[in-house]
């Protein structure tokens, strides 16, 4: 069958999956007084539509920052304004100042879900389709399979269409950036990534690899001459994009400072809820929160983050190839939790990598249970697992050489961890995930350990992250696949 028909069918299937999840509950449904992320997004529409720009990020009588104050960069605010404009034409009650707090209705839910779908259709899905068709290797069937698995990733679907967020927009912009860099359009790529940054500040995690790759590329092309010219063009583009997005706030320094203060709330602690990162897991052994002060926690976190990404970034500076760039992006993600969705597609072409990505989804199960999204979680995870196993392993046999597990294996033998066939590891991980999912959903934890299951899930996920992180660092420092080195892409 022709590629276009296969691609359109896969995209339509992805849309069905998304809309199917949309029909379920959302975060904070029917839970006054604060509700959840859904109410936060609705409230931002209310605020941006009714108040002048100068008041959006400030605490005024009309804008109570304690009730879901804006804490994303301006592009999110503009997007909310557009949605609010449409909402007002359909039903003004949805965005009436103050009176619409906690507004919930079936019509409104449909409208909100529609905004997520439209944003996805315009930004995220085209980026995925183009990326998979142009920047992955293999036959056209393999590209379509990768694209399909990429689009079906449960994590993004459940968070965006279930819990309710707009991650598709920021990830979409970032993916456009990666796509542009892969095709050699560095200026456009940096503009796209700046847009992503201006939508959600969490994209900062990916900023370091972008920066190191582009800088390394400029250095490689020669700092005197073309390299410098490229550097200047990229710099000007980035500054111009930022200026354009922040234009209304640049009139007064206090405006800009307030936005920055809202975007980076350093007053919060090291971790919230039971997140699947280093600190939460460490907390089970050493009670970090009680040992260190708030400021020290912040500096410790910053220092460790930078140290962890340093090796891959330095490698990227010295060898700025697109392949290294992709690996660096993946290595960076293991540090915190939300930004994990991006690397899925980058390495989706090997079945074994599907496993850590599913583990990330499993690590969010406590959140999904709170939102009443158990059935969509089960269905989408099973679907993703089934399709990735069926489509990808049929097309691509994982050989040890391809995964360059040699060095990885040696590392684990040193640590005395038994490491058999890597497929065995894959099935053990899946089994662990299934077991933990069932336990979290069904069993009641013992009374003296009320958070037993969320913490267990977080720790398991963290171990997977650690393993994946080390693996990708190891891979990045070994040589690229033989056929690439022949192409002299450096």
């Amino acid at each position: 069958m022709q590629t276009w028909s296969l691609v359109s069918i896969c995209v339509l299937l992805a849309i069905i999956a998304r809309w199917g999840v949309s029909l379920n509950s959302y975060s904070g449904a029917g839970k006054p007084p604060m509700f959840g992320d859904y109410e936060a997004q609705r409230h931002w529409q209310e605020v941006t539509y009714n108040l002048p720009i100068q008041e959006w990020y400030f605490n005024t009588t009309n804008n109570d920052l304690n009730y879901w104050g804006l804490d994303y960069p301006p592009l999110t605010a503009y997007h909310s304004w557009i949605c609010a404009y449409i909402a007002k034409t359909i039903n003004p009650e949805w965005v009436e100042l103050h009176k619409s707090r906690g507004y919930e209705s079936t019509q409104h839910k449909l409208f909100m879900r529609m905004t997520v779908l439209v944003a996805d259709l315009l930004i995220y899905i085209p980026a995925v389709v183009l990326y998979c068709l142009y920047l992955t290797d293999g036959s056209s069937k393999k590209k379509v399979s990768i694209m399909f698995c990429f689009l079906l990733y449960p994590g993004l679907i459940l968070i965006d269409y279930g819990h309710f967020q707009y991650n598709g927009v920021s990830l979409g912009f970032a993916l456009w950036g990666i796509l542009a860099l892969g095709l050699g359009w560095d200026v456009l790529g940096s503009m796209a990534f700046s847009l992503a940054l201006n939508y959600k500040q969490m994209e900062l995690y990916h900023a370091l690899p972008f920066f190191c790759y582009l800088l390394g590329k400029c250095i490689k092309t020669g700092l005197i001459g073309r390299g410098l010219f490229l550097l200047v063009r990229i710099g000007v583009t980035v500054l111009a994009t930022f200026a354009l997005c922040w234009l209304p706030f640049l009139a007064e320094p206090s405006q800009a400072m307030q936005v920055v203060r809202r975007i980076f709330p350093v007053a919060r602690g090291l971790f919230e809820d039971k997140v699947a990162n280093t600190w939460c897991s460490l907390n089970t052994l050493i009670k970090i929160k009680s040992i260190l002060s708030g400021d020290s926690q912040l500096y410790l976190s910053l220092a460790c983050t930078l140290l962890a990404v340093l090796p891959s970034c330095i490698r990227l500076l010295t060898k700025p190839t697109f392949w290294h760039f992709k690996l660096a992006l993946v290595s960076v993600f293991g540090i915190q939790h939300w930004a994990v969705f991006k690397p899925t597609g980058l390495k989706c072409n090997e079945i074994c990598y599907a496993c850590p990505f599913l583990v990330f989804v499993c690590s969010m199960l406590p959140l999904f249970l709170k939102d009443g999204l158990l059935v969509p979680y089960i269905v989408t995870s099973l679907g993703f697992l089934f399709f990735s196993i069926y489509l990808l392993s049929a097309l691509d046999h994982c050989s040890e050489d391809k995964l360059r597990l040699g060095a990885y294996n040696k590392l684990f033998y040193c640590l005395f961890i038994p490491w058999g066939n890597h497929f065995l590891h894959f099935y053990i991980s899946i089994a662990a995930m299934v077991g933990l999912s069932i336990a979290t959903a069904v069993l009641i934890p013992p009374p003296h350990l009320p958070d037993l299951f969320p913490v267990l899930v977080s720790t398991t996920a963290f171990l997977h992250f650690l393993g994946t992180f080390i693996h990708f660092n190891v891979v990045q420092f070994s040589e690229p696949p033989s056929r690439k080195s022949q192409k002299k892409s450096n």
């Binding site: 069958m1 028909s5 359109s8 069918i9 339509l12 849309i15 449909l110 059935v375």
Partner: protein, 504 residues
């Protein structure tokens, strides 16, 4: 008209409650009350075997939520109830999946290596399992058609594999599960009598009366009677047969369902209405003489036509029999083996759909699903399939009318249409194009109708005055396509009479 609109929405989205009610009736009441119970308006109107099936389901339902099994709990829809009902449809679809697999095994594979996506059996599997109509009717609107169609397709597959007794047994079960399959019973009856009971044919293909095998006839008779006894037995013993039959065949309902199925009577109604309007305009008729409420009122009762003669159940029966007579006669006089039987089955299903009394638009699936088997093997059938399927599926759109379901039905329809067009075109690419340009224009017109009905009309001022208009337009436009497909299928059967049968 406000009241009429309310009635329409009451009539439509109720299959869920219907089945819950039947679970309750079969679980909580003794067998003797099943066909007399009428606390709810959704009385038991399927044959007894389906009631036994619901009884079995109710045993499992008890573990989900026992409250749904109380007859008094009308419109009870707790999350556990919904989950159980949806899961039951998914689980019983196993029968359908098995049947689809059997059908794929019957399909001839052309020689030469092809990749998986271009093999006829794969295309057939997707056309059956991902059939838009079945997905929408079963999983969104709620019925057990996957389960029932599994029986039909399995029976057809058995006949294609020459295992006639098994095929007959499966069809007997099917008839006792849902009596709408009476539509295709003539095809079964004549085919089995002609090709199974008469073991051999003469050289020119006509009947060899001497080869009649009473043993085979007896076997068939035994199968049918034993299945019917299993199903109806208790009710005959209790003397309730007339009551059961009156529930199964409620002729008090009107010629057309609230939303007209796209058959001949839809065209007849429109003709009648246009003549009436024209007559009033041209002062040939007095407006006061016309019957007050019309079919477009949407109430499911008996109404009269204004200008053209009214249609009674007897008339529809005669028309139906006349329409299927040539097909049935054809497989009696010149049987073409199991392929001819399949074609005759399709024509019986379509004929009954076209001319039947109170036909529901979902019945088009009885014709669409078996036609998929023929479509992957012959180019001409593929063309007919594309027309029938696209129009038939589009005619199901009014079943889903809430805004939440709009993206689902549009996306699913697009998916199925893209797949069926591209896959069939690739399969038959060597033999030329599948569709005539005029047919393509007609199908594109469907898109225009869809946009007009789903998007333009709700935002236009006519929404209040003529709420029935989009349904009318959909009915009539699709009726034309269905009629056309019916005529073409007939032509393909009758014109084949002159050729030697392709396989025996």
């Amino acid at each position: 008209s406000q009241q009429h609109v309310n009635v329409i929405s009451c009539i439509r989205s109720t299959d869920f409650e219907v089945h819950r009610n039947w679970l309750a009736i079969t679980h909580s009441l003794p067998v003797s009350r099943w066909y007399y119970e009428n606390t709810s308006e959704w009385t038991l109107d399927y044959p007894p075997l389906f009631a036994w099936f619901e009884l079995g389901l109710s045993q499992v339902a008890r573990r989900f939520d026992a409250n749904m099994l109380q007859v008094e709990n009308l419109n009870y829809a707790s999350p556990a109830t919904v989950l159980f009902q949806r899961l039951s449809v998914i689980v019983t679809d196993v029968v359908f999946i098995y049947a689809a697999r059997e059908c794929c095994r019957c399909v001839r594979e052309p020689k030469g290596s092809r990749d998986v996506l271009s093999r006829p059996s794969f295309v057939l599997a997707v056309l059956l399992l991902w059939n838009f109509g079945l997905l929408v009717v079963d999983h969104i609107h709620f019925q057990y058609n996957g389960f029932l169609f599994g029986f039909l397709l399995l029976s057809v597959a058995k006949h294609l594999q020459s295992q006639h007794l098994q095929g007959a047994l499966l069809f007997a079960f099917l008839l006792n599960l849902k009596h709408i399959y009476l539509y295709v019973a003539p095809a079964y009856g004549v085919y089995l009598l002609r090709s199974y009971c008469f073991a051999q044919d003469n050289k020119d293909g006509s009947v060899r009366w001497s080869s009649f095998s009473p043993l085979r006839l007896l076997a068939l008779g035994a199968i049918v009677t034993s299945v019917c006894a299993l199903s109806f037995g208790p009710f005959i013993a209790m003397g309730q047969l007339p009551q059961v039959l009156s529930r199964l065949f409620p002729f008090k309902r009107g010629l057309c369902h609230a939303y007209w199925a796209p058959n001949i009577w839809a065209l007849y109604n429109v003709l009648d209405k246009s003549l009436a309007v024209l007559g009033v305009r041209l002062k040939l008729l007095e407006e006061a003489e016309l019957p007050p409420a019309s079919m477009t009122g949407g109430l499911v009762q008996e109404f009269e036509h204004s200008v053209l003669p009214s249609v009674t159940p007897a008339v529809t029966l005669v028309c139906t029999l006349l329409s299927i007579l040539p097909a049935v006669a054809s497989i009696w006089l010149r049987p073409h083996g199991a392929q001819g039987f399949l074609r005759c089955l399709l024509l019986c299903a379509l004929g009954c759909f076209m001319f039947g009394w109170h036909v529901h638009e979902k019945a088009i699936l009885i014709a669409i699903l078996p036609l998929s088997i023929l479509a992957v093997e012959s180019r001409e059938d593929a063309g007919i399939f594309l027309i029938l399927t696209t129009t038939g599926h589009y005619s199901l759109f009014p079943l889903l009318f809430t805004p939440a379901e709009l993206p689902i039905k549009v996306v699913l329809m697009l998916m199925f249409t893209i797949f069926s067009f591209t896959a069939l075109r690739k399969l038959h690419s060597a033999q030329g194009s599948l569709l005539h340009p005029l047919e393509v224009i007609y199908l594109l017109g469907l898109v225009a109708v869809a946009i007009a009905c789903e998007v333009v009309f709700p935002l236009s001022p006519w929404q209040q005055r003529l709420p029935f208009l989009p349904l009318l337009v959909t009915s009539v436009y699709c009726a034309m396509g269905v009629c056309y497909a019916f005529l073409r299928l007939y032509a393909s059967l009758l014109l084949r009479r002159e050729e030697k049968p392709k396989q025996l």
